[in-house]
């Protein structure tokens, strides 16, 4: 029977991507929640085998107590941290993923789910850092364009020579072009 998984993640995009990836692997994702939702009830109602949770969620401490709550249902939920897979757990936590499982679920059934989650979290992080980089370089390009405009206006020169002057200044001062642009903009604001 296909394992029933709950995903708890405050990042909606990542949660959606993980849900899809788990579905493709043949798991049934029975619930997807942001932290702060009434977790206790969901875990009991949805009868899940595995709960994958973002380690940055304060709700991890709520899940810790599911051991007692779910006992009423005869299905204690415990942190996936059996002996013999310390390296798996360490890697998962380092990449931001923890898992709670119904007690007695064999580690070899849990590990593939954890692997999918770890891969998605890593992919998401890489994507975000690329996005941040792209955003930063776009912002820098805008700064350089603005500084170029200032140099053209003040010096009465064309775009190409303005750019050359800024480049030379950057090389002479061993500074980044964006930093030179920033200084030009600051100076222009100061001098009016």
């Amino acid at each position: 029977m296909s394992l029933r998984v709950i995903v708890i993640d405050g990042e909606p995009d990542r949660a959606a991507a993980l849900t899809e990836a788990l579905r493709v692997q043949g798991y049934t994702v029975v619930g997807r929640f942001a932290p702060g939702d009434d977790l206790r009830r969901h875990v009991v109602d949805l009868n899940a085998d595995i709960i994958v949770v973002d380690v940055d969620s304060p709700d991890r401490d709520v899940l810790e107590s599911m051991r007692d709550v779910s006992l009423e249902q005869g299905r204690p939920v415990v942190m996936f941290a059996q002996d013999g897979n310390a390296e798996t757990i360490r890697a998962a936590i380092a990449s931001g993923v923890a898992a709670y499982v119904v007690d007695g679920l064999r580690p070899e059934r849990v590990k593939p789910v954890l692997d999918v989650a770890v891969a998605r979290f890593a992919q998401f992080r890489a994507l975000r850092s690329e996005l941040d980089k792209a955003r930063a370089s776009l912002a820098e390009r805008k700064l350089i364009e603005r500084a170029k405009g200032i140099v053209m206006r003040r010096r009465g020169c064309d775009e190409e020579s303005a750019y050359r002057m800024m480049r030379r200044m950057a090389m002479d001062q061993k500074a980044r072009l964006a930093d030179i642009a920033n200084r030009i903009i600051d100076a222009d604001e100061l001098l009016g």
């Binding site: 702060g36 206790r40 969620s57 304060p58 810790e64 757990i89 380092a94």
Partner: protein, 328 residues
């Protein structure tokens, strides 16, 4: 000394002050210990990251190293406590509705009758399973004539959600550290009916924990770490420094709450002295007794041995002796 910075975990609370101040006021630097602080959103994270080597040392609830050593909770791990960090600061708050039912005043014996008329099981929140807060709550309920296991329900709620859950009527009361008690009081949603000082005077609330093998492998580093933390504790407890402590803790990268709330929260907490700094095995034993009382722990054997293997006053004495710090 290690080249890499030591990773120290803390949960943003008033009683994480020693770690934060040791960093901000340069006590770690003074000891030549490069430290990186890691703010963690949950106690589970603290435990797991320390257990699996992603942290070198951490602030912990006083019971956590015992629970991990006894195999009571989710993760079994060999932690040791070389130093206590603080005592006091936690309190039990009851909802305004509950206090109304009790006729406005609070007397423990009025608790059971007030709870008798509820439509659902009386529900009380704490911060973590097997925490000092859980045992405080159990004590309070028992004083009020209520069996917490059969007549009530104990749930875990993250501290920042306590006040809103109380307001929503999901819970009837809770035990947590400040500012979450003062806040409920200020909003007229509830009132403090007992403080940690009423329930367990002279008990350590938070400790420093490290892995036992790490302590064995890095004695000099551990000593330097403890010296820095002890110096910070002493600095924090000087009344003239408290405003600065509050201002630093209030910052967005630490607690991210108004400095006034931090300052109020700090008042009930003691950081320096033989108590709370010496990790007396008797302290551990007292908590183990609570675990036994509530049937979390079966059997009597080896309890003092466990207490003394985890609460290591010998490690503390090594530093307190040389640093001319209070020693008993």
């Amino acid at each position: 000394m290690a080249k890499d910075a030591l990773k120290l975990g803390f949960v943003p609370l008033c009683d994480s002050a020693p770690l934060i101040i040791a960093r901000e006021r340069g006590f770690f630097a003074e000891q030549g210990v490069p430290v990186e602080l890691s703010r963690e959103p949950s106690w589970s994270n603290i435990r797991d990251k320390l257990a699996f080597g992603l942290l070198d040392a951490a602030q912990m609830l006083a019971t956590m190293p015992l629970v991990a050593g006894l195999g009571l909770g989710n993760v079994q791990a060999a932690f040791v406590v070389p130093m206590g960090l603080s005592c006091g600061g936690a309190a039990i708050t009851l909802s305004a509705a509950m206090l109304d039912r009790m006729g406005g005043g609070f007397r423990a014996r009025d608790l059971a009758p007030a709870l008798a008329g509820l439509e659902r099981k009386p529900t009380f929140a704490m911060v973590f399973p097997f925490s000092p807060h859980e045992y405080d709550l159990r004590w309070g309920l028992a004083e009020g004539g209520l069996d917490p296991d059969t007549e009530g329900r104990l749930v875990v709620v993250p501290p920042p959600q306590m006040v809103s859950r109380l307001a929503a009527g999901d819970i009837d009361g809770y035990c947590v550290g400040d500012p979450w008690n003062s806040l409920a009081h200020q909003l007229g949603l509830g009132r403090i009916v007992a403080t940690a000082a009423d329930i367990r005077p002279g008990r350590i609330g938070k400790v420093v924990a490290v892995r036992r093998d790490w302590a064995d492998d890095n004695p000099e580093l551990l000593d330097a770490l403890l010296r820095a933390l002890l110096a910070a504790c002493s600095w924090i407890d000087r009344p003239e420094n408290r405003p600065e402590v509050a201002a630093i803790l209030a910052r967005p990268d630490y607690l991210n709450v108004p400095a006034a709330a931090v300052r109020a929260g700090l008042e009930a907490i003691r950081f320096y002295g033989d108590m709370p700094n010496r990790p007396d095995p008797a302290q551990a034993l007292w908590y183990i007794e609570q675990m036994t009382r509530w049937r979390h722990l079966a059997g009597q054997a080896e309890r003092s041995a466990v207490a003394a293997t985890i609460y290591r006053s010998d490690l503390w004495r090594r530093v307190a002796g040389t640093a001319n710090l209070p020693i008993k």
